[in-house]
Amino acid sequence: MTQDANITADLFVTCIVDQLYPEVGVSVVKVLRRLDVAVGFPQEQTCCGQPVYNTGFNKEARKLAKRVLEQFRDSEYVVVPSGSCAATLRVFYLELFSDDPELLSEAKALAAKTFEFSEFLVKVLKVEDAAACGATHQGTAAYHPSCHQLRELGVKSEPKKLLFSVPGLEEKELEGAEVCCGFGGAFSVKFPHISEGMVADKIANVQASGAETLVSCDMSCLMNIGGALNRQGSDVKVRHLAQILDPDSQ
């Protein structure tokens, strides 16, 4: 391993992974443990508050954000398997508490130790080659960057480095990769007609890429894209990056 065994990281698993995709959380834990990270999981965690923050209900968002600040106050690192939720902790909390110096300094402390999963591997653990995780994957894959990961966190190259170094995995180019899939939280149900149009274009590009698997670091995008693919009867699989890096995952 490239790292000393002293790194401990607490997982903020995100509500969507907790409720809908527990297998993603399992893969995250397994990958981190393979890389000698001592993984913790604060039991009281629920949601980062982005759904209410995004719809303008800051009072409610602050309520949920304060819980997160509390639960991860003593963490060395906080790892989040979602670019979008990581952006909430790292970027949006600073705005949410901009007028409260005490909470703002807590939010800053949290922001400084919060990393999106792929970013944590590359920047903190200095892992750039998926072989370090023992991953292999037979087949083709394309990568969809989530908007928040790309444009709020500025995490662009890290996930691709990891994904496309997986032995056996063949990279497929995704046209319009950086165009939003149309999820956008409440947007997807407030304006379903627009959101559907956006995801229709996304899955057309996914299908045109010829990839068997679409990989991302955000299950919310993948819930959207995967849900649309499934409705079309497509057999393209959607996977979180951690699932590809985890040799125990199928």
Partner: protein, 491 residues
């Protein structure tokens, strides 16, 4: 002001989504401009581009913070150059200024070059009502004037019209034989409008920038109509928003680099015209009078709000429209007022009122592409979030427009997510419902294998499952998996 249709956003955007012709037109313009923009940036290198963006932003921020000072300086220098600067608080005042000038100077014919602000003010009907013939002369604007429509894009106002649409329009309005050759149609417009340019008593233009240091109005055009409007008639009136002032003529260098590249991907437009006062006594030609009308019309509301002030930095290049996945699907008219797209979703609520335009800030996935392309780095997603916040919780009740149901959902969500025990209970209920579903006759929202919700019975999930499947709740949450299988590993 033009008819405000922002409240029909939902229906208008739904109709637009079903219009394949519009989609093709949007694709052509959006990707055309965006590809050109990217290659123009690559040519100067992204590093240099970043420096320009920062310079442009810094100048704008400084000017807006000291707007009173620069407007005063501008006034001094417009006046010193022999021009007249008029201030207007709102649309009717601005229109009255122009109408007064037209009336007292016995104006019969006016030609206009493109001005979004005059669209905002809906100036044309005011002039027409006092017997002035008004001719839009930008080809796109001329087309939509003939069609009695409004612009659907900041830079390409008639993008929603196909060549067949334009040919039919010309046949109907100009009485010429149907000819869908684009070159012939442009030639027709040249011929028709050439006479008007020469006849016009009054030329009306917008302004891309006005320079405080020298009292200079700057317009950036490609067709040459802007030059004609500001050169041929005996009176020239420039109309623009008060935020268009910049301190020094030297500042133009960076904006002339940023604007054309961001708008159309050009290194520079065919023409940049800089007008300082009326013609001097020995000039060969040019207007005898130069007026500049600066309008507030709601801009001071933006100025007063630190969270939204930077919307005044906008140089109206349209890059955020071309990149926006929402605008690119619904086009400009769906936004229901003069300013469409991401920047319009910020500006319109501020100019016409958040309550009336409350849908616009919601109609974004907050993907952030607009911020990435903005030549003056306006943080549009943050402002959309701020407007959403105002809709939900503004202390000013007149701005609050979130529905009671939305408020309740938000409160319940926060309550649920504040209590892991309550959440566990809710998940169990969900799982129970999923199991019970098969015992309810004539009700089958789930797929046969039980892995997907295909047809949710109630909103908001039913909105989702219109065209997408939704995964059902798995047997265990991650919390449960952790406790059973993962937590011990770590000890």
């Amino acid at each position: 002001m033009p008819e405000i249709k922002t409240e029909q956003f939902f229906a208008a955007s739904a109709a637009a989504m079903k219009n394949p012709k519009l989609r093709r037109a949007l694709d052509r313009v959006g990707s055309g401009f965006d590809v050109a923009r990217i290659s123009a940036i690559d040519e100067v290198t992204p590093e240099v581009w970043e420096q320009w963006r920062q310079q442009g932003r810094d100048i704008k921020v400084h000017t807006i913070e000291h707007l009173d000072y620069y407007l005063d300086l501008l006034y001094t220098n417009v006046t010193a150059a022999g021009g007249q600067l008029h201030f207007a608080n709102d649309a009717s005042q601005a229109n009255e200024i122009v109408a007064h000038i037209a009336r007292t100077r016995n104006v019969k014919v006016a030609t206009k070059s493109k001005s979004m602000v005059s669209e905002e003010l809906e100036l044309n009907p005011v002039l027409e009502a006092i017997g002035v013939e008004v001719w839009e002369t930008d080809l796109g604007e001329y087309i939509i004037q003939l069609a009695k429509e409004t612009p659907s894009h900041l830079v390409a106002p008639a993008l929603h019209k196909s060549k067949e649409d334009v040919a039919e329009l010309f046949t109907e309005k100009l009485g010429i034989p149907y000819d869908e050759d684009i070159f012939h149609m442009a030639a027709t417009a040249r011929t028709v409008l050439r006479d008007k340019f020469m006849e016009a008593d009054l030329g009306i233009s917008g302004a891309n920038f006005v320079v405080a240091e020298t009292g200079t109005l700057v317009i950036i055009t490609n067709e040459g109509n802007g030059r004609l409007c500001t050169s041929a008639p005996r009176i020239h009136i420039g109309i623009t928003g008060m935020e268009k002032v910049i301190p020094s003529m030297q500042d133009l260098a960076v904006f002339l680099r940023l604007l054309p590249r961001s708008a159309t991907g050009q290194r520079i437009t065919s023409y940049v015209s800089m007008i300082t006062g009326p013609r001097r006594s020995d000039d060969e030609d040019g207007p005898e009078e130069f007026h500049l009308v600066l309008v507030d019309n709601g801009r001071s509301r933006m100025l007063a709000d630190p969270a939204l002030r930077e919307a005044l930095n906008c140089i109206r290049c349209g890059a955020c429209l071309n990149i926006c996945p929402v605008y690119q699907r619904i086009g400009g008219h769906a936004y229901g007022w003069v300013y469409p797209g991401p920047i319009g979703a910020v500006v319109s609520p501020m100019l016409i009122g958040l309550k009336q335009a409350k849908e616009l800030p919601q109609a974004s996935s907050l993907c952030g592409a607009c911020r990435e392309v903005c030549p003056v780095k306006i943080d549009i997603p943050r402002m959309l979030l701020d407007l959403r916040h105002k809709s939900a919780e503004s202390p000013d009740k007149s701005q609050r427009s979130a529905k009671a149901a939305e408020r309740t959902v938000a409160r319940l969500y926060a309550m649920l997510m504040s209590s892991p025990r309550l959440l566990r209970l809710a998940v169990r209920c969900g799982r129970f419902l999923q199991k019970a579903e098969r015992f309810i006759p004539f009700f089958s929202p789930l797929s046969k294998d039980g892995k997907w919700i295909k047809n949710a019975p109630l909103p908001p999930l039913s909105k989702w499952t219109r065209s997408r499947d939704l995964p059902t709740l798995p047997k265990q949450t991650f919390h449960e998996v952790w406790q059973k299988e993962l937590s011990r590993d770590d000890s």
